[in-house]
């Protein structure tokens, strides 16, 4: 048997090349049969086919069996991964390589995939209605819409948003930001300014990672260019050690406690609590809230932005029968794809127990893990495990399990590609 340590060496060289050559990154994932004999029966509608929604749909079927009817409603025909999308900005990945369709969920696990837009939720009659008028009845509803963004003054129009993209929901804006970076002046006079909203926002290390990846690319391709990071938070909120080193390595100018208040796209200026900042490329990540299906249906009971949930089942504290997982829920856990996948498993297990007349698992564990590229070939990592605390009724970090990489390395970068492939496989394949 190949030992774990050797496995990484043994497969390391193949990872990136293979992934960029059009090889199906999900091909090697295990296909688990859907059992026919669990005796569990129920109807679940899932709204949103991201990391949480895809995973909960799959696990409801492989754990619940054919008696559990699962309908996944999603607006898009494929999910564009936010994880790894910062590597589109330095040209090492393309947006087309980050697309994950729903064919496997349908063909392998019998999930009914419906492309559509939800316009109404009836929590009493337990029914979801699409824009087409079609209704879907449920016994349990799972909502996993991810995040939406505040519209800052000056960014109300589509034209303004195109000029100052957030690129924090991977897609056309990611490619647009890449094009803006490559169009920066070659003489080193360009300034890339990005802003980070106050927490909680999606992927805590992500903005710092982006600053590093962009600065690294500019250093090698447009030397002399400047990168300025305006952070509404008082310090780097994730992987502080790794990013302090990364910022020093790349000469990034980091300004904590700088909050963007409005944007002037005619002069390419950000107005902040500490005065104006101008740049050649402006990348403003606005404050977040749960996706519109949450806020538009009266489910954003936590600060008007998120849904508060019982973390034993992810059932909403205000809407019985409705579970909210991933970024849209207000919990002590980070808003990120890896942990959304685990929240989905906790939710699926709880729903199946509830269908069987049982209580949810009283002591669930979840884990968060990710890698962050610091240069085009090195990465750091971050991880923490959470356990349920019955006194506070929250998920609390296990202190000994919380940590980040002591050094950035090429090994971490190779492991990052394997982690990403495995995570997407567990969610979509």
């Amino acid at each position: 048997m190949v030992k774990r340590r050797d496995f990484f060496k043994w497969t390391g060289a193949a990872g990136i090349g293979v992934a960029t050559m059009g090889w199906n990154p999900l091909a090697s994932a295990a296909i688990v049969p859907v059992p026919t004999n669990t005796g569990i029966k129920g109807r679940v509608v899932v709204i949103g086919g991201g990391m949480g929604g895809a995973t909960v749909a799959k696990y409801l079927r492989i754990w619940g069996g054919t008696g559990v009817d699962v309908t996944l409603i999603e607006r898009e025909s494929a999910y564009a991964s936010n994880i790894m999308s910062n590597l589109v900005l330095n040209g090492s990945r393309s947006m087309s390589s980050l697309q994950y369709g729903y064919g496997n969920l349908a063909s392998r696990y019998g999930v009914k995939v419906v492309k559509g837009d939800v316009v109404a939720i009836d929590p009493i009659g337990r029914k979801v209605t699409l824009a087409t008028g079609t209704g879907y009845a449920y016994d349990r509803l799972v909502i996993a819409p991810g995040v939406d963004f505040d519209i800052l003054p000056g960014l109300e129009t589509a034209a303004a948003q195109a000029k100052v993209p957030h690129a924090w929901k991977a897609g056309a804006q990611t490619t647009a930001l890449r094009n803006m970076i490559t169009a920066m002046p070659s003489n080193g006079s360009g300034v890339f300014v990005m802003s980070i909203p106050a927490k909680p926002y999606r992927c805590p290390p992500g903005p710092y990672e982006r600053a590093c990846v962009v600065a690294d690319w500019l250093k090698r391709n447009k030397p002399g260019s400047k990168v300025i990071v305006l952070d509404a938070n008082s310090e780097i909120i994730a992987e502080k050690h790794s990013f302090e080193e990364g910022f020093a390595l790349h000469g990034i100018e980091y300004r904590p406690n700088w909050t963007v208040q409005s944007v002037d796209t005619s002069t390419m200026t950000l107005n902040t609590n500490n005065g104006p900042v101008s740049g050649t490329v402006l990348n403003v990540i606005p404050p977040h809230r749960a996706g519109k299906v949450i806020t538009a249906n009266g489910l954003a009971d936590a600060g008007g932005r998120w849904t508060s949930v019982d973390v034993l089942s992810y059932e909403s504290k205000v809407a019985p029968g409705i579970h909210v997982i991933g970024d849209a829920s207000a919990t002590t856990q980070p808003k990120a794809g890896h942990i959304a996948n685990q929240e989905a498993k906790v939710c699926a297990d709880a729903i199946l127990r509830l269908f069987s007349g049982r209580a949810p698992d009283p002591a669930p564990k979840t884990n968060s893990a990710c890698y962050s590229p610091i240069t085009f070939e090195t990465a750091s990592w971050l991880t923490v495990t959470f356990g349920y605390d019955p006194v506070s009724r929250t998920m609390v970090p296990v202190p000994a399990s919380a940590g980040e990489a002591s050094v950035r390395s090429k090994d971490n970068f190779e492991e990052m590609n394997k982690w990403f492939t495995a995570l997407m496989g567990d969610s979509f394949a």
């Binding site: 774990r4 884990n367 567990d426």
Partner: protein, 98 residues
């Protein structure tokens, strides 16, 4: 409906089984072991390394060894998130998967 009334109703409903318990309980360790699958593949198969079907002692000893590493890499840190009882539970579950 007032929130308090709603909560009371929810609690009352939750305490009544929706169906008689005709189904068998989920296997112990199934949910816990699913924490491995983001990296080790669904049911511990594929990913960075297949772990399903390894013996209980093999999985247990490896995780305990990781907990003791003085310069921990990611998996060494992750291993520290689980108690002895939890490690035995997930190892037992994974060892039975085929």
């Amino acid at each position: 409906m007032k929130r308090r009334t709603l909560h009371g109703l929810v609690l009352a409903l939750a305490s009544l089984p929706a169906f008689a318990q005709t189904t068998s309980a989920p296997p112990p360790g199934r949910l816990l072991a699913s924490n491995c699958y983001q990296c080790h593949g669904t049911n511990g198969s594929g990913g960075v390394e297949t772990i399903r079907g390894e013996s209980v002692s093999e999985i247990y000893n490896e995780l305990k060894e990781m907990q003791r590493k003085t310069r921990p890499e990611m998996m060494d840190m992750h291993a520290r998130g689980y108690t002895d009882a939890e490690i035995k539970l997930l190892a037992t579950y994974l060892s039975k998967l085929r």
